[in-house]
C-alpha cells in the first residue's frame, strides 16, 4: 500500500511542536533533581528529531548521536580533560566498571556519568517513538496524555509548579492532534490534500486555541473544588494521622516539630560554614511543650531587638581576649540564626537587625525572611565545675517550681511507665547533675539503635516517647533528646528541648585554616537541663554524638564511657566483616569457574526461571505482535511447495482471509465474500481479490473445481498477500 506523503512544511511544524512537548518533560527534571547542563539534553532531543525530519540515514545519524553523547558526557563530568585521549580512556574505564556493577546487581554504585549516558539513550528512544507516533500512527494522543499526567503528578507531589507547563502542553498537544487528524484522514482515504487545505483546516483550530490560551491566562483561576489530594493519599497510605505527618522528610532545619518520627532522607548540601577553633554545638532555639507527638512553643515570648550589638567589622577589631569567635557564613537561607553556646555578640558587615527571644534563644532576622548571611559570633564557652554540679540537689529545685513550671509540664495523658523508668534510673543518683547524667547514659547501654530510616511515627493513641523507649528502640536525635527531656521532667528536673546543628565536619581551607562545614545532615536536637545555682546545661543523649559541655574535673572521676563503648563496638564490627569476607572467599574457592562468573543475585532458581520464562514470554509476545510481518511470507513460501488443487486453494484462500483480517481489513460476520472482495479491491485499486473470490465461490458454492487456472490464481494470491503486508 502506498502511503500518502506528508508535506514537508507540515512535517517541520509537527516536529517543532513535538520538540517543545518533549522539552516539557525535561524541565521538571532540571528543577527537581540536581541535573545540570539541561541544555545539552535539549540539544540532543533537537538533534535526534532533526535527523528524523531530514531523513538522515542511520549510518550517519547513529555515529553522530553517539559522538554527541560521548562529548556531552565528557564535557559535563570531565571538564578539565575535555577532548583528550585521557578523557576517552576514562570514559571507557567508567563504562567497563558500570557494566560490571550492573552485572553484579550493584545498582546504587553506578556512576553519574553512566546514568547520564543511559538517560541520553532513553531520550534517543523517545525521539524514535515520537517519530513513529507522528509519521506512522499519526496520533500523539498517548504521548500527549502521558505528558499531561506526568506534569499533573509532578505538580501535585513535588514543589515543581506546572501551571504554565500544563497550558503550554495543552496548546501544543491539541495543535498536534488537530494537525494530525486531517493527515490520518487523508492517509485512510488515500487522498493527497494540497498544503493550503491543511492550513485552512488547521486555521480555525489555531485561532480557537489562541483564544482559549489568552482567556486561560487572563481569567482569574478558581480555587480547586477538591482539596489537595496529597495529605489524603498519605493518610490513606497510613503515613501520619493528623495530616502533618510526613512520608519521608528531608533532613534539615524545620521550624515545625508538631509531629516527630518517620524516616529521613539524607541531604548533604551545605547549610553554613564556620571558622572556629573548637567544636561547637550550633544552637538555634528551644521548645518547652511536649504534646506526646512532638514539640511546640507555648507561652509568650519575650522579644527584644539586639540593636546595640550590631557593629561594623570594618571599623575596628576590638576583641576581648577570653572570647572565642566563630565566623559563620550561611549558604542555605535559614529563618533563624545558629550560634554557639555562650554567645555574647553578633557582628555583621552591614546593617542588620534581629530579634532575640529570651526564653527560646531564637535570633530572628528583623526582615522576617530566611537569610543568607555572613557574620561573626563572639562567645565565651561555658564551663562547668564538677564540684558545683555534684552539689546540686533536688531540694533547691522545689523553690523554683513556679517559675520553672513550663519546663516541667507533661501531657495530661502521660504513660506511667516512662516515669517509672526515669525514677528507677535516677534513684541512686544523689545530685541533679548525676540524675541527668544517668538518664543521658541510659540509651547507650540499653540496646537502642541510631537510625534515620525505618523510624516509626506514633499512632493517634500512642506517645512518641513511650513508643521509642519501650517498643521501637530505634530512632535519631529527636527520639533520644525528646525522651530525655520527658524523663527529666517526669522526675522533677526542669528541661527543655534544643534544636540546632551538630558541630559539623572539620576541614582545612587553602591556608590550612580550620573550619567546620555544617550540612543539612547535621541538623540536630539535644537537651538542656536546669542545674540549680548554675543554669541551663546542655546534655547529649543521642548515641554516637559527643557532647560539648566543658566539665572541669576538679575532683578525680572516671568519665565518659560513651567513647569507650564506641571503641569497643568498632573492632567487633570489623571482625564480623572480616569473617564474612573469608566465608565468601571459601565459598568462591569451592565453586567451579563457570559458576563464579554468574553474579550472586542470578543464582537462585526462581530468578533463573523467572528470567527464562520472561524471555520466552517476551519472544512469544514479540512474535505474536509482529506476526503481520513474518507470517505472510511464511505462508507464501509454504504455499509454493503445495500441489495445485482445489484443496490447496481453499486452504490458501482461508489463509488469505485471516491475513487480511490481521492487517486490519476485517470482514463482518454477515458480509458475503464477494462484497468483502469488492471492498478490499476498492481499497487497493485492482480486482485481484474479486477474481480470487469468484474462483473460490465457484468451488465452494458451485461445487465445480475443474476449470480454474491454479497457477494464475496462486500468483494473484501471492501478490495479494505480499502487497498487503505492511
Amino acid at each position: 500500500m502506498k502511503d500518502v506523503r506528508i508535506d514537508k512544511w507540515v512535517l517541520v511544524l509537527l516536529y517543532t511542536l513535538a520538540f517543545f512537548m518533549t522539552i516539557e518533560w525535561l524541565k521538571p527534571v532540571e528543577e527537581l533533581t540536581d541535573t545540570g547542563h539541561i541544555i545539552l539534553f535539549y540539544g540532543f532531543v533537537g538533534l535526534a528529531l532533526m535527523f528524523g525530519l531530514l531523513r538522515v540515514p542511520g549510518w550517519i545519524g547513529v555515529p553522530v548521536k553517539v559522538i554527541y553523547i560521548v562529548l556531552s558526557l565528557q564535557y559535563v563530568f570531565l571538564e578539565k580533560e575535555w577532548l583528550s585521549v585521557e578523557a576517552l580512556k576514562m570514559t571507557v574505564i567508567d563504562m567497563q566498571q558500570n557494566f560490571a556493577f550492573i552485572w553484579s546487581g550493584e545498582w546504587m554504585s553506578i556512576s553519574y556519568m553512566f546514568r547520564t549516558g543511559l538517560f541520553f539513550i532513553l531520550l534517543w528512544m523517545l525521539c524514535y517513538l515520537i517519530r513513529y507516533w507522528i509519521e506512522y500512527r499519526k496520533s500523539v494522543l498517548l504521548f500527549f496524555g502521558m505528558t499531561v499526567i506526568f506534569l499533573s503528578v509532578v505538580d501535585t507531589f513535588t514543589p515543581f509548579d506546572a501551571s504554565f507547563a500544563i497550558l503550554r502542553v495543552m496548546i501544543i498537544g491539541l495543535l498536534l492532534l488537530g494537525i494530525l487528524f486531517p493527515l490520518r484522514l487523508s492517509a485512510k482515504t488515500k487522498t493527497q490534500l494540497p498544503i493550503s487545505s491543511y492550513f485552512k483546516i488547521i486555521a480555525p483550530l489555531v485561532g480557537m486555541l489562541l483564544f482559549v490560551a489568552i482567556v486561560a491566562i487572563l481569567v482569574p483561576i478558581k480555587e480547586p473544588a477538591w482539596p489537595d489530594p496529597v495529605p489524603f493519599i498519605r493518610s490513606a497510605a497510613g503515613l501520619g494521622d493528623s495530616g502533618n505527618g510526613e512520608g519521608v522528610s528531608k533532613v534539615g532545619y524545620d521550624p515545625d516539630d508538631t509531629q516527630l518520627g518517620g524516616p529521613f532522607k539524607q541531604d548533604d548540601s551545605v547549610v553554613f560554614e564556620a571558622y572556629v577553633d573548637s567544636r561547637q554545638y550550633w544552637k538555634m532555639e528551644t521548645k518547652n511543650t511536649y504534646t506526646s507527638k512532638g514539640w511546640i512553643q507555648s507561652s509568650e515570648n519575650w522579644v527584644f531587638e539586639y540593636q546595640r550589638h550590631y557593629t561594623n567589622l570594618m571599623d575596628g577589631q576590638v576583641l576581648v581576649p577570653p572570647r572565642e569567635s566563630a565566623d559563620i557564613e550561611i549558604y542555605e537561607p535559614l529563618p533563624i540564626i545558629p550560634y554557639p553556646y555562650g554567645t555574647e555578640e553578633l557582628k555583621t558587615t552591614e546593617g542588620f537587625y534581629y530579634d532575640e527571644e529570651l526564653d527560646t534563644g531564637k535570633l530572628t532576622p528583623n526582615s522576617g525572611e530566611p537569610v543568607e548571611l555572613k557574620y561573626r559570633t563572639e562567645f565565651v564557652p561555658p564551663e562547668y565545675s564538677l564540684k558545683e554540679l555534684r552539689a546540686t540537689d533536688m531540694a533547691s529545685l522545689d523553690s523554683m517550681k513556679f517559675e520553672m513550671d513550663e519546663y516541667l509540664s507533661l501531657p495530661e495523658e502521660f504513660p506511667e511507665r516512662v516515669r517509672d523508668l526515669a525514677e528507677e534510673l535516677t534513684a541512686n543518683a544523689p545530685s541533679v547533675y548525676e540524675k541527668a547524667q544517668a538518664i543521658e547514659r541510659y540509651f547507650a547501654r540499653s540496646g537502642f539503635v541510631y537510625s534515620r530510616d525505618k523510624v516509626a511515627v506514633p499512632e493517634e493513641d500512642e506517645d512518641y516517647v513511650d513508643q521509642f523507649l519501650f517498643e521501637t528502640k530505634r530512632g535519631y536525635c529527636d527520639n533520644f533528646s525528646t525522651s530525655m527531656v520527658v524523663m527529666l521532667r517526669s522526675v522533677g528536673i526542669p528541661a527543655r528541648w534544643v534544636k540546632g546543628f551538630a558541630p559539623g565536619e572539620l576541614k582545612r581551607d587553602d591556608n590550612k585554616e580550620k573550619f567546620y562545614t555544617v550540612t543539612n545532615n547535621q541538623a540536630h536536637s539535644w537537651v538542656e537541663a536546669y542545674m540549680p545555682g548554675i543554669g541551663w546545661m546542655p546534655f547529649e543523649p543521642t548515641i554516637g554524638f559527643n557532647g560539648v559541655s566543658n566539665v572541669n574535673f576538679d575532683i578525680e572521676v572516671a568519665e565518659d564511657d560513651v567513647k569507650e563503648q564506641e571503641l569497643i563496638k568498632r573492632p567487633e564490627n570489623k571482625k564480623k566483616q572480616e569473617q564474612e569476607k573469608q566465608a565468601a572467599k571459601r565459598k568462591n574457592a569451592q565453586e567451579p569457574w563457570l559458576l563464579r562468573i554468574i553474579p550472586e543475585w542470578l543464582r537462585s532458581w526462581t530468578v533463573v526461571s523467572v528470567i527464562v520464562g520472561g524471555a520466552i514470554a517476551l519472544v512469544g509476545i514479540g512474535l505474536y505482535a509482529t506476526r503481520k510481518k513474518w507470517l505472510p511470507r511464511l505462508v507464501v513460501r509454504s504455499g509454493r511447495s503445495k500441489s495445485e488443487s482445489w484443496e490447496t486453494f481453499a486452504i490458501q484462500y482461508e489463509q488469505l482471509l485471516k491475513h487480511l483480517n490481521r492487517v486490519g481489513l476485517k470482514k463482518p460476520a454477515g458480509m458475503t465474500l464477494s462484497t468483502y472482495a469488492k471492498e478490499v479491491d476498492r481499497m487497493r485499486g485492482d480486482d485481484k481479490m474479486s477474481t480470487l473470490t469468484a474462483a473460490y465461490e465457484t468451488g465452494l458454492y458451485g461445487q465445480s473445481e475443474a476449470n480454474l487456472n491454479w497457477t494464475e490464481l496462486r500468483k494473484m494470491w501471492e501478490d495479494l498477500i505480499i502487497e498487503t503486508t505492511g
Binding site: 463482518p668 460476520a669 458475503t672 458451485g702
Partner: protein
C-alpha cells in the same frame, strides 16, 4: 439461443415498454421462473399492470386480469358449468384464473371466500369445481396487487394466505428522469401497444426446469436455514419465517442465479432476495412495532448477524 440470452431478451423486452424498474422486472421474472407468485403492494398508477402485461407479452403467454370487488364470487374467478340444452349436458366455462399470467388487482377488496378460491389455484396449480379437478395451464403466474393506503372496506389477507406468495414487492415511484421518459414515450404511443413475444412458452417451461437444476451447496442451504431460524429467534418477532419461506427463498435463489447466468447459488443471492421473500412472512410483537421496530430493520439485522458460510468445513 442460450438460456442466458433468452432471459436477457425478456428483460430487455420489458424494459422497452416500461421505463426503469429493472429490479422489479428481474424479481418478477425470478418468481415466474421459480414457479412462485408475487404480491405487489403499491399505490395505483405506478405501472403494475403495464409491468405484468409486458412480461406476459414477452413470453407469449395468455394474460388475464381479475379486478377484485367485494361482490365478486368464487365462480367469477374459477369459472362456471353452464347447461348446454343442445348437447343436454353441463358445459364448463373456465373463469379468468385459467390462464398463464393473471393480474389479480386489489386482491384485498374481495371476500375471503373468493380470495381462497384464487389462492388454492396458486398453491396447487389446479382448481376444483363441481367436484372436478382441473389442472391449470403451465406456466401459471399470479401477480396480485394490494393498495396499502385504502383499508376501508377491505379484507386483509390472512397470514396463511400471505405465505403463499413468493415475494412481496414494492414498485415505488419512478425517478424524475424516468418519469419524464415515461411521458416522452407515451407522447407518440397509442394505448395498448405491446411488444411481440421474444420466447415461446415452451422456452419458458424449459427455463423453469433449468432453474431447478441450479446447484445449492449445503453451505448455502444451511445459510438459508440459519437466516430463517434467526427470524424466529429474533426478540422483536412474534411469528418468524416458516419452512415454506425457506423453501421459497431457495427456489427464488436458484431462479435468480439462473437469471444472473450462474449455475450455483451464492450467499449474495440469498442476501439479495431475503427481504423480498421474508418480509410478508414475519409478524412483529405488537410492543416492538410500537417502539419503532420494523420488519425491514429486523431483516437487516438478521443479514448482518447471521454468519455467512465461507469455508466448507465449518458448516458440516
Amino acid at each position: 439461443m442460450l438460456h442466458k440470452e433468452k432471459i436477457d431478451a425478456i428483460l430487455a423486452n420489458i424494459e422497452r415498454t416500461i421505463v426503469g424498474k429493472r429490479v422489479i422486472s428481474e424479481l418478477s421474472l425470478t418468481a415466474l421462473l421459480a414457479g412462485g407468485h408475487v404480491l405487489l403492494e403499491d399505490v395505483p398508477g405506478v405501472g403494475k399492470t403495464v409491468m405484468v402485461k409486458s412480461l406476459a407479452a414477452s413470453i407469449g403467454a395468455e394474460f388475464k386480469r381479475i379486478q377484485f370487488t367485494p361482490d365478486l364470487l368464487p365462480s367469477d374467478v374459477l369459472g362456471v358449468s353452464i347447461y348446454n340444452p343442445q348437447q343436454m349436458e353441463f358445459e364448463f366455462r373456465p373463469g379468468p384464473i385459467v390462464g398463464n399470467i393473471i393480474l389479480a388487482d386489489e386482491i384485498n377488496r374481495t371476500s375471503p371466500k373468493t380470495q381462497a378460491a384464487l389462492l388454492e389455484g396458486m398453491e396447487e396449480s389446479s382448481i376444483t369445481i363441481d367436484g372436478r379437478t382441473l389442472q391449470l395451464p403451465q406456466p401459471f403466474f399470479v401477480m396480485a396487487t394490494q393498495n396499502p393506503i385504502e383499508y376501508e372496506g377491505t379484507y386483509p389477507l390472512p397470514e396463511a394466505q400471505m405465505d403463499r406468495f413468493l415475494f412481496k414487492l414494492k414498485m415505488g415511484y419512478p425517478t424524475r428522469d424516468e418519469e419524464i421518459e415515461v411521458l416522452s414515450r407515451s407522447e407518440s404511443q397509442l394505448p395498448g401497444e405491446f411488444t411481440a413475444p421474444v420466447i415461446t412458452l415452451d422456452d419458458l417451461l424449459e427455463l423453469q426446469v433449468l432453474a431447478t437444476k441450479v446447484i445449492v451447496d449445503v453451505t448455502v442451504k444451511s445459510y438459508i436455514v440459519d437466516c430463517a431460524t434467526a427470524t424466529r429467534d429474533h426478540p422483536t418477532v412474534y411469528l418468524g419465517v416458516s419452512p415454506r419461506g425457506s423453501l421459497g427463498l431457495m427456489k427464488a435463489c436458484q431462479a435468480y442465479a439462473l437469471i444472473k447466468g450462474r449455475n450455483y447459488v451464492t450467499p449474495d443471492d440469498v442476501q439479495y432476495l431475503l427481504p423480498h421473500a421474508f418480509s410478508h412472512r414475519i409478524i412483529l410483537h405488537p410492543d416492538a412495532a410500537y417502539s419503532g421496530h420494523s420488519i425491514d430493520n429486523v431483516l437487516v439485522d438478521v443479514i448482518a448477524k447471521v454468519r455467512v458460510p465461507i469455508m466448507r468445513t465449518n458448516t458440516l
